[in-house]
Symmetry: none
Subunit: 214 residues, 4 copies
């Protein structure tokens, strides 16, 4: 009855064991180092050695966790997608009008960027000649959902009848490029940016000007 083990049974194996712990830590360390280095140098310029150098681990250790830099990159991108896409999805579901939908999209994206400045800002600091954008397959897939959504909205008459490919491109372009400005501001005002972008897309420049008038 008073079997002590029965108590622990209710909870899943709590002690991860030192081994599992350090394994998890190392994996994390590599991924975080990867984030920084990819941001700083770009994917192409980054070497596996750059990454492990930053972790302080031995060179060989890298290969206990990933087969190549590509695999780390994938892992990072999967994590990114895991963070943003669910939020995009839930916004989408919640939206009751096209405006709400659009606003939701912008908001989530800007919010993500601002709260991941850790990634994003370093990314921009990379003054170099080229930029790695976050539009990896996973992220693109996220935006693809946006495009598909948009198509449905147009088909069902919720959104106005427009060239969906161009519209989604424009939305994505606005989102990315405005993000750059947003993170440079202190403090970054996500609401404001969201408002600007949403109004621009819906009603154009004139409407924005009106809004900002007293």
């Amino acid at each position: 009855m008073a079997d002590p083990s029965s108590q622990t049974d209710t909870l899943p194996a709590q002690k991860p064991g030192k081994r599992e712990q350090t394994k998890a830590n190392n994996r994390r360390a590599i991924i975080e180092a990867g984030r920084h280095v990819f941001a700083e140098l770009g994917y192409g310029e980054t070497t596996v050695r750059d990454i492990i150098r930053k972790t302080g681990l031995a060179s060989g250790t890298f290969y206990n966790y990933f087969k190549s830099k590509e695999e780390v990159f994938q892992a990072i991108m999967d994590e990114n997608a895991l963070r943003v896409r669910p939020r995009l999805r839930s916004e989408r579901i919640r939206a009751k009008s096209f405006e709400e939908w659009l606003r939701g999209m912008f908001f989530v994206f800007f919010d993500y960027v601002v709260n991941d400045q850790h990634n994003y800002a370093i990314m921009r600091r990379n003054s170099g000649a080229l930029r790695v954008r976050m539009d990896t397959p996973e992220i693109l897939a996220g935006f693809d959902e946006l495009r598909v959504d948009l198509e449905k909205a147009v088909a069902s008459g919720i959104a106005p009848q427009v060239d969906v490919a161009y519209l989604s491109a424009a939305i994505i372009g606005i989102a990315f490029e405005m993000s750059d400005r947003l993170v440079m501001r202190d403090p970054p005002d996500v609401e404001e940016a969201t408002d600007f972008a949403t109004t621009l897309v819906l009603n154009g420049l004139g409407a924005i000007a009106e809004k900002s008038r007293p």
Copy 2:
């Protein structure tokens, strides 16, 4: 009669000497090879050897013209800017209203992209996971002129009173991202894209929808 140039005709003084000629040719050859290779492999994966191999020149010769692949890349980008910026500038001058100005900007950019598909399209095809964008210092400087212009327009009351930084970011974002779609279309309709972008920025989605209605 005493045309002084006729005299120089006998001596190849003003015409570039053979030396200068081949020098210029080699430089050109390297730059063109660079364009192809960067487009094919992406900046990071491209090696100096890839470039000179394509020219047929000796490896050492490269360094008579450029110090590194970065320098070639800069040179290419400078050339790109040199091609677009004057056109952007002349459009700017010609514009008699804000709408004309905006339309001019989009048109020149889309037109450039379409007629440089050789670069652009391959560039995009290149790598799924990441992108080299053309926003090098020079190109960015070009867009900076746009921003400055925009500021003037807003200050002088020609353009509506809006957050100029966000607006220029949005315009640039739209331009870049729509370019991708534009070059994929067959045939690419620069006018249509220009129209879409201009109307979106000026009057928003609703206006576009109205336009496309019969």
Copy 3:
């Protein structure tokens, strides 16, 4: 009464304990894996990892048994020698004439090679360009015994007065090289090979030719 060993009888002392058992098993497993891998890849190309991978043991465990792959190799070769040398020795003792002695040597060797085709044949198949021969110190020691024996035989007048070093070299060379042909034949006829070799050494080519005549 106070026989201390009687006490240990109650405990499984004389039978190998479970510990000793698995220890022996592991050692065996490593050696067998080594045999296969060395045969398949050749000594130089074989890695310790290849060996332990085949055993299913952990990599660290290897070092409880051997210090390096060289040591495993030595162990294997020692075992090989252990299998052949006693037989060579007993043949030597049994021999009543020089011919019998010589015939015995060849027979044992050829027989061994044929019945260890598992090692031998794969070993040869291995690499065209080079060969690992089984003439490790141990094996060589075996042949050294042959040489010493030969010396005694010559000294005592049983064998003809010849250059013993050359003769033993020739015998060994014949044995090794003919082995290669022997194992290729289907079925390999040990008697025939033994006969050929013995007659060649004793009476030369002419004698062999006579034998094969009807």
Copy 4:
């Protein structure tokens, strides 16, 4: 008249140019280094770096000359074959009887080994557990010619009717193994070894014993 250049005209471009010279030297250096290292460590154990380390050249330089250690190995073996095979061939042609033919084979081989002690002795010094024999494809091809020759001799009745495969194997074995002893002697007597081997194969042990009797 006394134009000095006209004299040099008659001879082909004598100056190889410093460039070609060093190129040839480097190639030689790599091959020689390869000879030593392969002999010392065996093919499998040898690394490209071992080879270039011995030349004093930079690591990258190796790859201006060979794609891999295999290629160096091939080059070495080709050279070896180039040295021995023509001599074997001419001996073969000159031979007027089977005995002459056989004697010629042994002589050329022993002579080669003795005069290439530079290779051969170091090879043996490699006290290790394994040996690389010179029986690479090229060398084997040389011996294959011997076997083919032998077959013809047997078919035409010049040589006695025997198992050709076994006989050539025996000859090769005797040649290799006796070489080891031969090079250890001081001075190495090629004639003597040739005589021993030839007589053994032709008439067997008994004949040798008779010869050495006063």
